[in-house]
Point group: C2
Chain length 205, copies 2
Amino acid sequence: MSNPIKQAIESRVSTNYYDPGRHLSDDDIMELVGQATRAPSAYNLQNWKFIAVRSPEAKARLKAVSYGQQKVADASVSFIICGTLAAHEQLGQALAPSAKAGIMDQSVIDGWVAQATRTHTDNPELQRDEAIRSASLAAMTLMLAAEGMGLATGAMIGFDSEGLSREFNLTTTEVPAIIVTVGYPKPGNWPQKPRKPLHEVIEFA
Amino acid sequence: MSNPIKQAIESRVSTNYYDPGRHLSDDDIMELVGQATRAPSAYNLQNWKFIAVRSPEAKARLKAVSYGQQKVADASVSFIICGTLAAHEQLGQALAPSAKAGIMDQSVIDGWVAQATRTHTDNPELQRDEAIRSASLAAMTLMLAAEGMGLATGAMIGFDSEGLSREFNLTTTEVPAIIVTVGYPKPGNWPQKPRKPLHEVIEFA
């Protein structure tokens, strides 16, 4: 009776054990990132970058900066999802396709760029919040997109941020916000863990 | 041909215009939050709180601290989604249902609590990242859950954080990370805005 989206949300598990013999095609990887980028971001900043780690050599480097977690070696692909700082500087370019499609007037875009520039410049906390927020919205979309494609996922924040930035040549404006492993599960994964009672986290106003 | 999740992801729009005459039941609101809390969080911290703003009086207060944006008045409900700081302090309690369900051994839980305490204590940046990250993962899940229920949504970060915290009595550990409006769309909303070309945001390793 459950709708397919509810079913995906409620059956998703944080996968730790993957079948290391299964691969994903470039097309599937592009499809996952394509859906992930449909996530919303403030002003449609799209201040994100996805590094698809899938070669044995790159997986070994990622494992080394992820405290030796085997799942990044066994998953078909691990996405390092970065949010980017100083995102207002590229907002005009990010919105160019909306102007070209005739959805937004250039004057509206100019207004958004001016407003984002005013609020983001010299506000490192907002820039970092925005990087983490956009990357996380995209990461969740990617995880549910993967469910829709019959794939298992796991979100990870257990990595050495500095080491990862060095190994994958991130620029100073690229903040690794979260890693999402994707692949085919092996037996032995936990089920989805139970959550707090709803009344503890909801308030009506 | 498209699977229902992909379809939801690709047809979701950031709604600005809602039918102000449509309401959501308490059951629907609980259902949305219930699905949102199925999002993953580091260690299953579940460091989030959802304030469902739906009374005319509370909507007026939210509109006042959201730079007068009419959509929070017109949407059936607006969720103020907070991430919480010092989340490690409540991790043992957050994982108690997993112990009770026999999914996690108490010794594993104790190890996680020790590790989270070690890394989070005296690390305000990580605490804030974790608050924004968990709240954003939950927010995206809520938006897609709403799609599955035939509802429209919009994510908003245009609010005065201090004013909102005061008006809704947030504690010092509750960070308002994002607002998600939910309801029934009126005509006149933008379609989903186009995204950057994929090759600009993806890198293979």
